[in-house]
């Protein structure tokens, strides 16, 4: 399978990228990792008239922790997170996620920001970004704006980035003390999109009660979904099996998956709950809280 013809432009800078986007508008697509876009083009499902390649913008390939925020640049690839000592030690939620996206070769090209912008309903990073309360920094002709992830993910394959903007980075708040997370995914085999997925980020207070919780599920609606009821339930409570089960049930209730080869609605709803429970248990386990299964 071969893509339809297109015009190719390699951007030399962020400004040049914005210039090209301005010039070609809706006819142009940004080419970063290309791991979703190129297969779609090979099937001629996507046939952009213009590709703006940002792979030369090495200045966007950073993973940078400063001012209480981990910033992941638009060209940081999944594999960079997977192998980063910083991510491995301080951001287990992100580390988990980076190891479960697509397959290990695809991860050497695929980017975190690109995945967020693609916003596939079964994608991984949107789920983790919701649980981690991430923000996306977007630049356009009129300057830079920062969008909370909840406002960024609009609908399937649709985000708050407009035609003339470039998503520059995603920012994850640095976890405060006594915080851990976990990402859980059911896939039929390596490389598959999620049958169901869930992310949890939990902060405990000094007494062992939950002082902050981020819970989200994937493949369970038009895009990644925050399980606000579970977050509310967890907040201020001491973890128990029953509490975790209730958080899972909140996910089961809110999940609105589509049936496909991966499973029925019934199965996927239950898996959303199971994975929320497992993600919470795993996050707590990382905080030394056990005996919850």
């Amino acid at each position: 399978m071969f893509p339809a013809p297109f015009e190719y432009h390699r951007a030399g800078s962020v400004d040049e990228t914005l210039e090209l986007l301005k010039q070609f508008g809706g006819d142009a697509r940004i080419l970063a990792g290309g791991q979703s876009l190129i297969p779609a083009m090979r099937f001629r499902l996507a046939r952009p008239a213009v590709l703006v390649d940002i792979n030369g913008l090495n200045e966007l390939s950073y993973l940078r922790e400063e001012d209480g925020v981990l910033a992941i640049g638009a060209l940081a690839r999944d594999a960079a997170l997977e192998t980063s000592a910083l991510i491995g030690s301080k951001y287990p939620l992100l580390s988990d996620t980076s190891a479960l996206v697509a397959d290990p070769v695809v991860r050497q090209s695929g980017t975190v920001v690109g995945s967020l912008c693609h916003n596939d309903p079964a994608g991984d990073w949107g789920v983790t970004a919701l649980a981690g309360r991430a923000q996306i920094v977007v630049r356009g002709a009129n300057g830079t704006r920062t969008i909370a992830i909840d406002d960024f993910l609009i609908d399937s394959f649709t985000t708050a980035v407009t035609e003339n903007e470039l998503a520059l980075e995603v920012r994850f708040p640095t976890p405060p003390a006594r915080t851990a997370g976990s990402y859980q995914k059911i896939e039929r085999k390596v490389g598959d999109f999620a049958t169901a997925s869930a992310a949890a980020r939990i902060t405990l207070d000094e007494n062992g009660a939950i002082s902050a919780a981020g819970i989200a599920i994937g493949a369970a609606g038009p895009c990644a979904t925050r399980v606000a009821d579970a977050e509310l339930l967890l907040h201020g409570s001491t973890p128990t099996k029953e509490l975790i089960r209730a958080a899972g049930d909140a996910a089961r209730k809110i999940a609105d998956p589509a049936a496909d080869n991966r499973g029925s609605v019934e199965y996927k709803k239950d898996m959303a709950g199971v994975l929320v429970e497992r993600a919470i248990v795993a996050a707590l386990g990382r905080l030394g809280v056990g005996g919850l299964r």
Binding site: M1, G263, Y267, D270
Partner: protein, 787 residues
């Protein structure tokens, strides 16, 4: 065995873990697969497919496509009809199939038109612009609906029915009577799902009609190049000497590359019409949606037994879904292949099996996917049945098998469905598998786990295959007997070239064929070049599939070598100035009896054959042998799987898998192990993930590798292998064939293990693939009520 003398170990070729001779080119990226071949002026073919499973073709408008840059021609079924190529016979000749749809499209993705252009991209650009107007018709998706004959799929046929054929073997009345009289019976419908071999290299062809010589060269991804040459000649009327089929390196076949596909024919027609080479290489979607699928058997399995566990009767009734054409790849006299092996390794006093096949609006096929013609379906049926019988009798499934095995004293064993099993020691093989895995300890562990509510299962499969088709009395394809052949020429300096009618697709023939000849001739296997796949040079053979290469061509190689040795003996007598009667073949040399130092090597003999030939003998040292096997061979094995099931998600972890195989004499243990690893992996895939499914509207739901699931290194279990050896008494070197055993035997082991794990929940059967959701459903507390 051919010789009772034990040769010196270091000179021995047979049984050695010899590194493969074909590997240096593959590891350096210098293999030559079909798509690597580029010919001058070559054009590219891409195909237009029907999006509808059943539709009348109202109109095909080529105008826009022909105007697209680079497009040279567009061919439709009607264009082919003008050349008499609209229809071609199916594999065994009982039916015919459309090359490009004429009148009606009969399955989704059926080939409707071909676009020939100067590049692959331009051909695809043209495909987008071929405007086909369809009038959709209601599809028939299930053979059980087809049976009603409410919608006629094939109005081109004389018989106005979707029923293709009825086939049966065994004693119906006696079986029914024995079943009725049985103290215990089980009955279960078992569906072996439609799946696809999906070799990593898709199918393809390059047709090159030379207008000056009138000779058509066809590069094909072919497992059976000679058979394809004959078919092309019969279909086109081109004399067979004017057709040259070359099957280059093949990136896996597994039965997928046995049939003739539309792309081959269209590329050939296009080359004839346009006078330049035309290449066609499938996309993965085309591979999965249009080329031969496998299985799709709905089998009702019934077993009768006495209370003490001795089996009394077997009956299996099957409904087969053949898709839109009867293109199943089976020998002519065996429409349901070797399904009669369904009595398996057990001594049934009486048995009966029958099968009805139907057309549906699905892709045609029914090829032998890593399988000897329906042996996989049969083995799955009997091994699932025996497991259910053990459950019903509340006896250990290993004990039940040991009680009912054909014993080694019974060989050659005539089975109730007409085979004569050559050799085996089923008891020894199963006992070895049980010992290897530590069966008793595992059962103890399982008891403890069950007490804690954990789901652990142990599955057994003790299969017998029938492979190596086959004896000419019974086996032919469109009349061509299923012999195979070898030609060996020993060069003056003692190296040789060996050609065979088979075609390796990864099996390692370049190594193992050389090992057989080297062992028989006392030559260095490194200096025996093996060549296959070129119909201009190789002797006629039926090709590689159905585990037939070693049983048939392997025998031909041994026999050709022995013919050479006979002649060599004459030359040796001349060289040693002795009588032939005074010579003996010892330690890879001819020597004068009683005078061990008075000896000549084959290398010396070869040199003499060209420089100092014996009086009254032809110069040279070569032989050709066409081997017609006296019987099939019957590889067998005992497989054990241990699984843990997570009831919360339905996930299954295959913790251990032990495979003990008896494939008779082993030529190269390393190659045999490799074959077993690969076959087990495919069996694992079939048990847990591989399936071609259609929705109720006839849409294929598994059209590429994102939906047709091939396991990766991470899902694939670690395999433990071992063997027992009972040489085939009728094969010149005692070998039986092995490539398919693991794929035939393992699916039942996996399913039996999962069912064993779910036994405490009262679950007796779940159809493959065992997806997480199916297992999750079975584990739900309410499963009993909703199932």
């Amino acid at each position: 065995m051919s010789t009772t003398i034990e040769p010196e170990a270091e000179k021995r070729s047979m049984g050695q873990r010899m590194k493969r001779k074909e590997d240096p080119r593959f590891i350096q990226g210098r293999g030559r697969y079909l798509d690597d071949i580029v010919l001058p002026k070559m054009l590219h073919l891409a195909i237009v497919h029907s999006p509808y499973p059943h539709a009348r073709i109202v109109k095909i408008d080529k105008t826009a496509a022909l105007a697209s840059p680079g497009v040279v021609a567009v061919l439709t079924g009607e264009d082919l009809a003008a050349h008499g190529l609209a229809w071609i016979p199916t594999f065994h000749g009982y039916d015919k199939q459309m090359v490009l749809a004429v009148g009606k499209a009969l399955y989704q993705y059926q080939e409707v038109a071909g676009v020939i252009a100067t590049s692959r991209e331009a051909a695809l650009d043209g495909v987008e612009l071929v405007d086909v107007e369809y009038e959709p018709l209601d599809p028939v998706v299930s053979p059980f609906d087809a049976r009603k004959d409410e919608i006629l799929i094939r109005d081109d046929r004389e018989a106005k029915t979707n029923h293709i054929y009825h086939w049966e073997v065994g004693k119906r009345a006696e079986t029914d009577a024995a079943m009725a009289a049985s103290e215990v019976t089980i009955k279960q419908r078992v569906y072996f799902q439609r799946c696809h071999p999906a070799p990593l290299e898709p199918c393809g062809s390059i047709a090159d009609m030379n207008g000056a010589t009138g000779r058509l060269t066809l590069y094909l991804t072919s497992q059976a190049p000679h058979a394809h040459r004959t078919v092309v000649s019969l279909v086109t009327g081109i004399p067979e000497d004017k057709i040259h089929v070359i099957s280059p390196d093949i990136g896996g076949g597994f039965g997928n590359k046995v049939p003739v596909y539309a792309g081959y024919v269209v590329s050939a027609a296009a080359s004839v019409v346009l006078g330049v080479p035309v290449k066609w290489v499938e996309t993965r979607t085309e591979n999965l949606t249009t080329t031969g699928f496998a299985r799709d058997y709905h089998m009702d399995v019934e077993i009768g037994a006495r209370k003490d566990g001795k089996v009394t009767a077997l009956k299996v009734t099957t409904v087969a879904d053949h898709g839109a054409f009867d293109a199943a790849a089976d020998p002519t006299k065996y429409p349901a292949g070797l399904f009669g092996i369904v009595t398996g390794s057990y001594d049934f006093p009486v048995a009966f099996t029958e099968l009805d096949a139907y057309f549906t609006n699905k892709t045609p096929g029914g090829i032998a996917y890593r399988c000897s013609f329906r042996v996989t379906e049969a083995s799955f049926a009997i091994e699932r049945g025996m497991e259910m019988l053990a459950r019903k009798l509340d006896v250990d499934p290993a004990e039940l098998r040991l009680k009912n095995f054909v014993s080694k004293e019974q060989f050659p064993y005539p089975s109730p469905l007409g085979f004569v099993y050559d050799s085996g020691d089923y008891h020894q093989t199963l006992r070895k598998a049980l010992d290897t895995i530590g069966y008793d300890d595992l059962r103890k562990e399982q008891t403890e786990k069950r007490a804690r509510g954990e789901l652990m299962g142990i599955g057994i499969s003790t299969f017998t295959e029938a492979v190596g088709a086959g004896p000419s009395k019974h086996f032919d394809i469109m009349g061509i007997k299923m012999f195979d052949s070898a030609e060996i020429r020993v060069h003056p300096t003692g190296s040789a070239i060996l050609r065979a009618g088979t075609k390796s697709q990864g099996q390692g023939h370049e190594t193992t064929w050389a090992q057989i000849a080297a062992e028989e001739l006392g030559l260095d296997p490194q200096n025996i070049m093996v060549e296959e796949g070129d119909t201009d040079t190789a002797p006629y053979g039926l090709g590689t599939y159905a585990s037939r290469s070693t049983p048939v061509a392997g025998a031909a190689i041994a026999m050709a070598s022995r013919k050479i040795r006979e002649k060599a003996k004459k030359i040796a007598a001349h060289l040693l100035e002795a009588s032939e009667d005074d010579l003996e073949w010892v330690d890879y040399k001819f020597r004068v009896k009683g005078l061990p130092d008075n000896a000549v090597t084959m290398q010396e003999i070869a040199f003499a054959a060209y420089t100092n030939p014996a009086p009254n003998t032809e110069p040279g040292l070569e032989a050709t042998y066409y081997y017609d096997p006296p019987n099939l061979t019957f590889p067998n094995g005992a497989y054990l799987a241990v699984v843990d099931v997570d009831p919360e998600t339905g996930a299954v972890k295959v913790r251990r898998f032990v495979a003990i195989d008896d494939c008779g004499t082993v030529i190269n243990p390393m190659v045999v192990e490799g074959q077993i690893h690969g076959g087990l992996t495919e069996g694992f895939a079939i048990a847990f993930m591989q399936e071609i499914r259609y929705d109720e509207s006839g849409n294929n739901l598994n059209t590429n590798f994102t939906e047709y699931l091939v396991p990766t290194s991470l899902e694939t279990p670690h395999w433990e292998t071992g063997n027992t050896i009972t040489p085939s008494p009728h094969h010149p070197i005692g070998a039986k064939g092995v490539g398919e055993s693991p794929n035939v035997g393992s699916p039942a082991a996996f399913v039996n293990a999962v069912m064993d794990a779910l036994a405490p929940l009262g679950v007796t059967h779940i159809d493959m693939p065992l997806t997480r959701e199916k297992i999750w459903r079975a584990c739900k507390p309410t499963a009993g009520a909703t199932a």
